[in-house]
Symmetry: C2
Subunit: 319 residues, 2 copies
């Protein structure tokens, strides 16, 4: 099944995404699932998934709203995004060559929660950015908590797969040995539009990842050229982190096609790129100028602290 999180007036609700002759349609699941259930909950719980499957079987897609008329939030809200660098053959580190042997260990970095956006979120080009670039990737969404899981058992912990844009500021990335600043500007991790469950994806090691920018295909490479097979990668990561339900593993970016680097131009407001992965759908990233509002100055903040809202008790449910 294909699951999304839809923004409604009453908040974000989980939905199943169904095909129809004139476009995908969304089956709201807030009526059939217990209150507060998220897509992450469904991915990790076979009974909830059965409820969803039954609801899909009983529904008539043509009576449902078109996805194009809805707003999709990130399908899940990861507590962390763990990413792999150089996981496709022929995507070599600076100074490397195709003749180099595969690396012994995957090169891992982290994206934080502030990066997460959904398919219908516009991505602000950060004020401080210098050279914004895209990376089209396959994201693994963790279904059940995993720690120290042997390689042979890892795939049973996977809740699903999604398209991911590992947006990166190349100039910030190059400035220092660690990539964290170039990778972690607000909004630099777009995920979606949906999470597709493993039964529908088939072999995650045989998916074509394509990126289109300005009408040109700039990336086209299969996950069959992954350096680290997914079970090996997941076992490696779970020996370090406890991976929580909804956490995302971004499996790395293919090299851009020959000639694309030569015409590289930093992404700016008005630009868009579309990532398409076999079976996972297409994710279009639209860049806009940063909001004109900013964090208030200390004097502005002092004024707002005198307002009634600042004196209200904190909401325990968010504390």
């Amino acid at each position: 099944m294909r699951l999304a999180t839809v923004v409604t007036a009453a908040g974000e609700i989980p939905a199943a995404i169904l095909p129809s002759p004139d476009g995908e349609r969304a089956l709201a699941l807030d009526g059939v699932l217990p209150g507060g259930t998220t897509v992450t909950d469904v991915l990790g719980n076979a009974l909830l998934a059965t409820l969803v499957a039954d609801e899909i079987a009983a529904s008539d897609a043509m009576t449902l709203p078109l996805v194009d008329d809805l707003r999709l939030a990130p399908p899940v809200r990861p507590s962390k995004i763990v990413c792999v660098g150089y996981n496709y053959r022929w995507h070599n580190p600076d100074g490397g060559s195709d003749a180099d042997p595969d690396p012994t260990f995957p090169d891992i970095f982290v994206k934080t929660q502030n990066t997460v956006r959904g398919a219908d979120d516009l991505i602000e080009v950060p004020r401080a950015s210098l050279d914004v670039d895209y990376e089209g990737e396959v994201a693994v969404v963790v279904g059940r908590r995993m720690k120290d899981v042997p390689e042979a058992d890892t795939m049973s912990y996977v809740g699903g797969f999604a398209v991911f844009n590992d947006i990166t500021d190349r100039e910030w990335q190059r400035r220092t040995s660690q990539w964290a600043v170039g990778k972690n500007f607000d909004g630099f991790g777009q995920l979606g539009p949906v999470v597709v469950t493993p039964d529908e994806v088939g072999d995650p090691g045989d998916l074509l990842v394509e990126v289109e920018r300005d009408g040109l295909v700039t990336v086209s490479q299969s996950t069959s050229t992954w350096v680290f097979p997914l079970p090996r990668l997941l076992a490696h990561l779970s020996s370090v982190w406890t991976l929580e339900p909804g956490d995302v593993i971004a499996t790395g970016s293919p090299q851009k096609l020959p000639g694309v680097h030569a015409t590289h131009r930093p992404l700016v407001a008005g630009d868009a790129v579309t990532i398409t992965v076999t079976g996972l759908g297409s994710l279009t990233t639209r860049f806009v100028a940063p909001e004109t509002t900013r964090v208030p100055s200390p004097s502005e903040a002092a004024a707002s602290e005198a307002s009634p809202s600042a004196t209200a008790p904190p909401d325990p449910s968010t504390a």
Copy 2:
């Protein structure tokens, strides 16, 4: 003021830590603050802080429980920990020398939520670890949400300071270009025992950081040797991340004293190190063997999914 989070039968509650002739004592704040208020809330809200100050003024420390008889949780629960490498002069990258000029940009990496532990938590030596080491640091705790804050305004966003142990597996860190795996094993970020508010700390750029291991002082260096003054560092980070209340900035680790590297031995179960920072107190990290329990196998998990608890509706407050 000095604030801590205390573990009680009813959950974690904020407390003010007060001196007394026979040791520090804890003033529980759950009665005076609105329900669900956390230390993070107090750090970011002048009115809540005034309530706490009034309660401290009205209390008799000698009637309060000794901190040594309580269990301290992490004082705050950061959504991310943003860390600086090489922020002390004479702590050079591999291959660097004291004659090298200061770096132009701070080298930044991230620790994720799974690393966070409090002063009374025992730190498990991970099963997969190879060479566990400590790093004694000054942590900045963000008081109010900050993004794109000019250098001159940054310090008004600081909620407080704490001692931090940036625990690191050196072998995992060395294996790849990015340090994330070596830095992010569960429990590798111990914070506490308390958060001290800026008014009580004075100049954060004039604190002595000392570490003691096996009766020897292995680190002793002042934050006056920081490469990046704190306002500059905070402005830099806030141009990338929206820093949330309770987020932690770990300001880097001093070089170990001469001779210490030569006698380095990986930390193992039974080892302890103590970090002391002027005005912030002492944090002792105690290492233990990993739990013998582990994540259930798929067959075990299938059995537990058939149990009634797996069918209970999710709790909306945690969804």
